[in-house]
Amino acid sequence: RPAGAAVAPVGDAVDVGIVFDLGGRGDKSFNDGAYIGAERAAKAFGARVRFVEPGEGSDREAGLRMLAAEGMDLVIGVGFIFTDDLTQLAKEYPNVSFAGVDFAVSVDKDGKVVLPPLNVAALKFREEQGSFLVGALAALVGGSKKVGFVGGMDTPLIHKFEAGYKAGVKAVCADCEVIAQYAGVTPEAFRNPGRGKELALSQYQQGVNVIYHASGSTGLGVFEAARTMKKMGIGVDADQYNEAPGFVLSSMVKRVDNAVFDVISRVKEKKFSGGIYDFGLAEDGVGYVYDEHNKALIPDAVRARLEALKADIVAGKITVPSSR
């Protein structure tokens, strides 16, 4: 049994353990989202939260296990990478509730979805839907027939963002071209802002006016490029307006904070149940930022068009692809 696992928590305060993905606190992305959600829960109803930042791969499971063994009510793994570890641990600790942000739900041979264990909440975000909307936004506001996309590590996970984005572009501008590029082929590709900046600069120079990034810290370079070129960038995961005020057209937000807060309150109210929690446009789990900062950048007509598209997606009239 992991260290310090002795004391059982007292009272009815919820004890929550969160294990971050690589990047950890301060990533200005989904780790921070989870942190914000947990802090909100702490303020709202006194949830006691412990955070763990694992190192290499084998520490992920160890981190989750340490928290589970300490008798936490809820253990959250932030990132798709925790999927297998959560599945495994949930079986060993049937009395602990687990949640996985971006939990990757698998499909069996017949194409049927394999449900996670009963004590696991799979918090899934339909990034492609949010990406679709910012794609449409980019094409409508961009003012050129070219829009850009910068991905981090060249993997199918990021292809999902690209696919939704492309579909959104095409939906409003069939003859628009999407220039999609990736920063690299190793996890470093999420931490290489220098590369991100160069990719963005070359896209802007090719006539792109708006670039959407899904590349972690690499995207900070995209915003730098936007500043220098006086063009637009679109943020990802969180509202990234502050990275380059005036040059961030919008952000495709994933309300990880809401999802985390939500799952913590369910545990608090003893209403937790496992299963797949889809956070799409319909659930306001994903979306795009439209607020006082960027209102001026988005004409009302465009805004209306986006809302119409959103309604279509929610209504199922448009199906957004999740792979390219």
Binding site: F20, G23, G24, R25, G26, D27, K28, N31, E53, D154, I179, A180, Q181, Y182, G184, V185, E188, R191, N192, P193, G194, R195, K197, E198, L199, L201, S202, Y204, Q205, S217, L220, G221, E224, R227, T228, M229, K230, E243
Partner: protein, 292 residues
């Protein structure tokens, strides 16, 4: 126009390589293996951001960035020159140490595991693309580095001594040349130069990001070897590698070959170079030999 843009991008990408490769060439010419360039760069990037953050001045950031490089190089020098530690082991350790210490201090200073707040920098806010290039003093400095280093190595007394010390330290010592002092200067200089590469990266981004050098130090080392330890040729190698990268950026959209393969180009070229396929590359004879 396209050509101009291509050139400008190549140069921007090459700047960190040029600084770091200059540092690498200097150290290796003096007989010290430059495996720790990556660490110096990362330390320089972090130092620059710390300095710029607390003073609000990019130039002070340059100073603190260089200072960080010099401090890390001093650790290297103490270990290898004073205590005769193995240079390769020390180099690997410096890299590991720098990743850890920058992360730790990032936590301590900014309560973040991955990013610093935005700081002052060069790459100005209100200047268009190509102009941003010429308005960044570090770009000019970077371009001047290799010719300057060539001048130092081949035309100055210090350079003559560096070359002597890297080839046959005993001979230099027998003539009263203070071998260890020359090496100290070379190592500290390499730390300062490589750190400038990191400083450029960080100030160009106005921010420090965990591990943001992303292996550039190794590419720079590759350029030194590819350039056969000659500053000018190493500089050209930097431009070549940067050109390949630019080409990849420009061609990637077309997705002709998987990006993974393009990413390998500098590494493959280096292997080809050290295997002697493009002319024999003979390292300084005393390279790596401060152990006894």
């Amino acid at each position: 126009m396209t050509l101009l843009l291509f050139l400008a991008q190549t140069i921007r990408i090459a700047i960190p390589y040029l600084f770091a490769a200059a540092g690498g060439a200097l150290a290796e010419r003096a007989g010290i293996v430059a495996l720790s360039l990556e660490g110096y760069m990362l330390g320089g990037a972090f130092g620059a951001v710390i300095g710029a953050y607390y003073t609000g001045s990019a130039w002070i950031g340059v100073v603190t960035g260089v200072w960080w490089g010099i401090m890390l190089a001093a650790i290297h020098a103490v270990c290898t020159l004073r205590f005769k530690a193995d240079q390769i082991v020390t180099g690997v350790a410096i890299n590991l140490f720098t990743v850890g210490i920058t992360r730790f201090l990032l936590q301590l200073a900014f309560d973040s595991s991955s990013n610093s707040p935005r700081v002052a920098g060069f790459g100005g806010d209100n200047i268009g693309g190509a102009l941003a290039l010429v308005s960044n003093p570090l770009v000019w400095l970077g371009l001047a580095t290799m010719p300057a280093l060539a001048f130092v190595v081949y035309r100055t007394t210090f350079g003559l001594r560096v070359r002597a010390v890297g080839e046959h330290p005993l001979a230099a010592a027998s003539l009263g040349v203070p071998v260890n002092r020359v090496r100290w200067v070379a190592v500290l200089g390499s730390g300062a130069l490589a750190a400038l590469g990191g400083t450029y990266l960080a100030l160009d981004q106005h921010q420090f990001t965990d591990s943001m050098t992303a292996g550039r130090g190794f590419i720079a080392l590759a350029a030194v070897i590819f350039g056969r330890w000659d500053p000018v040729r190493a500089g050209l190698a930097c431009l070549l590698f940067a050109g390949a990268e630019t080409l990849q950026i420009r061609l990637q959209a077309a997705q002709l070959i998987p990006s993974q393969f393009v990413a390998m180009i500098p590494y493959v070229l280096t292997i080809v170079a050290v295997a002697g396929v493009v002319g024999r590359s003979v390292p300084p004879a005393a390279l790596g030999r401060t152990t006894d």
